[in-house]
Each structure stands twice: as C-alpha cells, then as structure tokens.
Symmetry: C2
Subunit: 459 residues, 2 copies
C-alpha cells in the first residue's frame, strides 16, 4: 500500500515537473528508482513525453528501463530513434531481452532492429528465434561464460573480469571441451574459494543437470524451483552447450504458466496479456468458446429434467432442491479436481498415483457426504419444514439426503480421475476443472435424484 502511494505521488510530481520543463529535476528524481518503476511512471505520462524522458536517462539505465516498457511504447520509441540511438540501446540489452522484444514487434521494426545489431548478435537472435514457442530454447540466452577444463582459476577470474560485463549472469560458469560438449560447472563461489592454481577441470562439479533446447519451458522452469538453481545450461541433442536459462526468466515462465492454469480452470482461453491491457473483443474471444460449449452441454441436464416432468409435477417440492444438489456436487467435484490439477502442475502427483488418489477420494467423499447429508436432514426438518412450512415429508428429506451422499461421491470420483486421464492423454489437466466437472456432475446428480425419488416416493 505504501509503495503504491509513493509511486502514484511520484507520477504526479513527474507530471508537474515536466509541465514546467524542469527536466534535470525529473532526471535526478527518477534515476534513483528501479527500472521497473521508471517504466511504470513513463507509461503513466502523456505519450509525447516518452522519448524526452527516455533521453534523460543514462545509457545503461535507459536500456534497463526499455526492457520493462510495454511493447507499444517500445515500438514507438524504436520508430522515433535515429539508427545510432537504436544501436546504443541494443548494445546494452541482454540477448534474451532483445529476442523477447523482436518477438513482439511488427516486421518493419524487426528489420530496423536486426539492421542496427552487430552481425554476431544478429546471428544469435536468429538462432534463438528458431526455437518453437514454449520450448526451453526460446527462453535461453547465449550470453554465458564458458571455460576450458585446463584453465586455471586465476585465468578463469581474469576471463570473468574481461567478459563479465556483457553476460547475463556470472553466478555459474560452464566447462566445455573443444567440441563444446558440456563437462561440468563451477559457481562463482567455488571459483573464489578455490586455489588460484587449480584448474577448472579439478574444481568443476560433473553432476550437472541440463535442459534440452526442445524441452517444454515449464518443465525446465519447475527444475529451478525443485533444485534451487540460479541458472541452467541448455544443450542440443549431442550434449553441446548452446545457451543458458537464468532464474529471472524461469520465474516469468512459472508465473505465466500458473496464470494460464488458473484461467483454464475458470474456462478462459489464456490471453497472456495483463487484464487492463486486453481490449474488449480479445476478452470476449477468450471467454466465449467455453461458455458456449458448456451452455450447449447443459442440453443434457435439461433433457433429464424434461423426462422426469411427471415426477416433478407430482412432488413440486423436489424442484426446489435441484440448485442445492447441483451446486454442492459442482463444488465437491471442483475441490477434488483443482487439488489434483495443482498437484500435477507441481509434480507432486502423477498418473502412477491414480489408485492412491482414487482410494483417498473415496474415503474423503464418504465422510463428507455423510456429514453434509446429516446436516442437511436436520436443516430440512427444522428450517425448511418447521420455519418455512415447505411440504417436506421424511421420504422427501431422505431422497434429498441420499442423493447428496451419492452426488458428493460421484463428484469427487469424477473430479479426481478426469485431470489424471487428461494428463495421460496429453491434454492440459487444467481444462478438467470446475466448469467441465460441474456440467458432468449436474447430469449425474439429477439422474441419482430422480432414481431416489422413484424409489422412496413410488412415482
């Protein structure tokens, strides 16, 4: 809250200072901030002040701020830059950030960027661009420090001092042979604590976990979480080092993939844009397919009710409990499915656990079903019958409560198995969450309801 206050105040102050053309004061104020916050303030100013503010920043900070800007602002800036200015910014950027920017820009801007880049950088950009979206190759950078095994620690430290400025991280160094095969790694700590005459081959750790260029980016990001890495080497099919992934990009992937999971669970097609930046039609497009599909699927529940019209006409009170039964079934089912989906995402649950999962859910469902049914029986007799004078007989209450037990049971069973089956079949388990489960459980609970009504009420 305090930070938010501060940044809003800073925005106001910047606005005032810009109006009064006190540019030096603006600069002195903003250069003490984090790049992310400077970008945020620049985005909040009138569009025409963006190039002006950008030129106030020292070169290195300017590049850091540039990375944090929205892509439309980046595009506007690039379009306004002279070629020399563009080159200056590009020289300061890390390669993976340049690639991210290139991926968002229209063709003519991409061309400008590639023309302004050094031939070597241009080659690297094109290399990373060739990897499929969502692959580990697409999030890696080629700016890492590699070492030969016969280099001494002293040589290695000299090398770090020489090239370290341009590398994305100096936390970890990778040791390769002459064909670039990955042999091991050494952290900067190992290097600093080692004897200056020791060789990289002696001090390196050979137990190195690497990712493949074509590995799914989420899978790679989860390894950072699991093993507490700061960086991870990326190798090609022949185990040759081609790049590294750093933790900041891994965190971005984790956040993005989690948002995607959450959106899928709520029947939204993932959009990858912040809510307030998405335009109306995009939002509609991401929400309507599932709503339509689920609406049409509800035809089944409608047909079930239609076919039991006579039962409902005879005992009109039964209609009143349809929403409660359907909602409880839906909620019970989504509790199970969401727990399993999250467990799969975090690699805590996999297909081989299906028997354990089902056995657990069966027991949980029975306990929950019986407790809910007992409470509901009491509520039906005390509140609905005595307080609201609804025409509830013991038989009707039994129909409702027995349905409740069986609905919870089948909801939990459907809820826990569908995500695992989806995973097995190669679909995203997150699709098997509340809305989907609810539609299935609605139909099941109505069928159970009318069967019990037949049994107990002799319709």
């Amino acid at each position: 809250m305090e930070d938010e206050m501060n940044i809003e105040q800073l925005i106001e102050m910047t606005e005032d200072l810009l109006k009064n053309k006190q540019y030096v004061k603006v600069r002195d104020m903003i250069i003490t901030l984090q790049p992310t916050d400077i970008a945020y303030i620049m985005e909040a100013m009138p569009d025409d002040t963006m190039p002006l503010m950008f030129r106030l920043l020292p070169k290195e900070l300017a590049a850091e701020v540039f990375v944090e800007l929205e892509s439309d602002s980046q595009e506007n800036l690039i379009t306004g830059f002279s070629r020399a200015e563009l080159k200056e910014v590009l020289d300061e950027l890390y390669l993976d950030d340049t690639v991210d920017i290139v991926e968002e820009m229209p063709a003519n801007v991409v061309k400008r960027i590639l023309t302004a880049s050094d031939p070597e950088v241009r080659k690297s950009i094109n290399e990373v661009l060739q990897y499929p979206e969502d692959s580990t190759g697409s999030i890696m950078t080629t700016e890492y420090i590699d070492m030969k095994r016969n280099m001494t620690v002293e040589d290695a430290l000299k090398r770090i001092r020489r090239v370290g400025q341009d590398m994305e991280t100096i936390s970890v160094m990778y040791v390769i042979d002459k064909d670039r095969h990955l042999l091991g790694y050494a952290s900067i700590r190992t290097l600093l604590l080692a004897d200056e005459d020791a060789t990289m081959g002696e001090i390196m750790d050979r137990n190195v976990v690497s990712a493949s260029t074509l590995d799914d980016q989420e899978e790679t990001a989860r390894k950072f979480e699991k093993y507490d890495f700061l960086a991870m080497p990326v190798v090609d099919k022949e185990n040759r080092l081609v790049g590294i992934v750093t933790i900041d990009d891994a965190i971005d992937v984790l956040t993005e993939e989690t948002t995607e999971d959450i959106e899928r669970m709520a029947a939204i097609s993932p959009s990858y844009k912040p809510y307030l930046k998405t335009d109306i039609l995009e939002t509609v497009k991401s929400r309507i397919p599932w709503l339509l599909l689920l609406m049409v699927s509800a035809t089944f529940t409608g047909q079930i009710i239609s076919s039991f019209e006579d039962a409902l006409a005879a005992f009109t009170v039964l209609t009143a409990y349809i929403p409660m039964l359907m909602d409880t079934g839906g909620n019970a089912g989504s509790q199970a499915s969401v727990t399993i989906i999250r467990g799969i995402s975090l690699n805590e649950i996999s297909i081989k656990d299906i028997v354990k999962v089902v056995w657990k859910e069966i027991r949980v469902a029975l306990i929950i079903g019986v407790i809910l049914a007992a409470c509901n029986f009491a509520k039906l007799m005390l509140v609905d019958k005595m307080l609201f004078h609804n025409p509830i007989t013991i038989s009707v209450a039994l129909v409702v409560c027995c349905t409740l037990v069986f609905t919870v049971f089948s909801a939990k069973l459907v809820g826990c198995t569908l995500p695992l089956l989806a995973k097995r079949l190669g679909f995203d388990p997150a699709v098997m969450a509340s809305p989907f489960i609810t539609t299935i459980v609605d139909a099941i609970s109505l069928l159970i309801y009318f069967q019990f009504a037949k049994m107990f009420l002799h319709i």
Copy 2:
C-alpha cells in the same frame, strides 16, 4: 516423463542393492544425483534404511539431502542421531533451513536441536523464530556478507573468501555503517569488475530496495518477481540490516501463496501439505466448511423456486432450463472473478481501477450475453423444439434468452466487483471465486428468470 522413468528405475536399483547389502554401490550411484532426488529415493525406501543411507553420504551432501526430506523423516533421523552426529549436520545447514526444520518439530526435538547448536547459531534461530508466520522476518536468513564503506575491493574479496563458505549467497554484498544502518549494496559482478583499490563506499549502489521484517512475505516475494532480484536486504524499523531473503525462499513463498489462492478459489481451506501426504481427516477438514456454508446458502435459491411453484406448474418446461441458466451464470461470473483475483495477486489490478474494471466487464458482458442468447435461441427452436419436441413457444424461448443476457450481465458485474471489495475490506480476494459467486448468481438468475416468465407468459 524421461526423468520420472529414471528416478523410478533408480529407486528399484537402490532397493535391490540395499537388499544385497552392496552399500558402496548404493553410495556411488546416489552421490551423483541432486540432493532433492536423493531425498526422494530415500523416502521411497523402507523406513529402517533411512539412517543407513544417510550415513553413506559425505557430510556436506548429507546436510543438503537432510533439508529436502519430509519432516517426519527428519524427526526420525534426529531422534536416532548421536549428539555429535546431530551437531555435524546442523553445522552444515544454512540458518533459514534450520529454522524451517525447527518450526516443524515437536518440542523435545527442538530442544535437542537447540542444545546441539553453537550458542551464536542458537541466538540467531531464536531471533528468526520470533517473527510472525507469513512475515518477511520469518523467511530471512542472518547469513549474509556485510561490508564497511571504507573497505577496499581487495579487502572485500578477501572477506568473501574467508566467510563465503558459510553464507547463503555471495551474489550480493551489503554495505552498512557502524550502527548497522543499510547504506547500499554491491553485486559480486560489480566487485570483480571494479578496481582493487576502490572502496565499497565508492562502488556501492545506494538505490537499494529493502523489505521490513514485518512486511508480508508474499509482498516481498512479489518484489523478486517484479525487480528480478537474487536477494533482498531486510531491515528493522530503524533501517538497520537484520537479514536477507534469497530468491530460492522467495520462489517457495510464491508457489505456496499461489497454491493457497487456487485452493481458496475452489472453496478449500489451504492445508500447506502435498496432497498425498495429507491424511483423510485433514482433507475432510479443509473441504467441509465451505461445502456446508454453500449448501446452507442454497436455501435461498430453494425458497425462490418454492415461491414460484405456480409458474413452474403452469409451464413445466421452464424447469428444464434452470440448470443451464445457473451454470452459465456461474461460469460467466467465475471467469470475471478469477481474472480479477489473479490480477490482484500479480499487482496488475488494484482498488483504484474499479471503475475501469466495471466499465470493461459491462461491455464484455453485453457482447457475450447477446451472442449466447442468440445461439441459445437458435438451439431452442432447432434442437429442443424440432428435434426433441419440447413444448417451446417463442415466448418461452424469449424468457430463457432474455434471462441469459441479464444473468451474464449481473454475473460479470458481481464477479468483478466482489474480489475488489474483499481486498478493500482486508479479506483475501481469492475467497470470492466460483463457488461463492455461483451461489449469489444462482439466486439472481432465478429471480430474473421468474420476472421474465411473469412478463412474457402472463403468469
């Protein structure tokens, strides 16, 4: 998939080797693995082999594996350790890991741990333990490298070589004055690239973002995500440096808080334990309160239906569309609420955006509502009437479709405002997701339905 195969195979091999008492082979195989994986294998073996396998590991690796074990395994090991053994493990642990372990252990084991620790470590443990759960203080470590401003880079590097082994990270050094006030920071890269005679005061960056011991841990963790930090200093009220938070702990907090959000959204009380490790009664306890509450709230929908019994008796076909209307309303509402809840979590949306949010949702809702209604009208006339011969008149179809538009509209409105209001009132917005919204939207949609039925069908 491949990794999973591997680890399962490793488990089988370990089992066989242990049976044949080929302990050296077991050791040679597992010491090439990551600590997390070794812990996983040990957990999969029979309980009585745990101390044996643990003693096979070299000292440092043993400590790293110990941290990754489940707390019941840790407890069993500690209980079996001699005091010397326990001290050896504790000496290798980082302070924040020791604190995490202490927090999970019963009192008698805690006493053993504290007795076996060095007096200085014991003091630090007690210091971190005093901070409230979920505070930044509770996840920090006191093992960081601090420097004085007049130290030269040469001195600083010597100091890193001397104390670096025991520190949680050497990526960032913190510069403090004689009263421990935080003055600035310098990364290991800055240090290595600087002139050896420069002082810390000259090379340090004064624009340091710090957290307060009492800041919420999620707030602090989100700053790592926002600013791409590897570590962050933690200060007390007087801006004195008391500890640091490292990125591995920040990631754990982010994962934990996200799981908590997802569970809350699915009407589950957070449990903080992996699904397969939670016992049946704990799972029941985390799921039943919301189910009960939501079940009882459904009394309202029941009463609404009861009070329109006559209308339903006259037009029995209306009953068939109750599930579809309720589900569509629920889904439309949860799409909005889940999007807003995630936006709030990621600091993309705050209370001050409420007008923008509502204005956007109104337009989205109208477009979606009209499309759904049009599709549904076609479906009612073509499928339900002509194919299934349901007694649907134009008037009935109009009732259903107009209700659909208004239901989607109110669902989106309720869905987008409730999370923001919850946040404003200091509740967790995640509670305002599907199940809660569904219950409210059910009642609203039924009221709208019966009003339209009255208007168009003259009941």
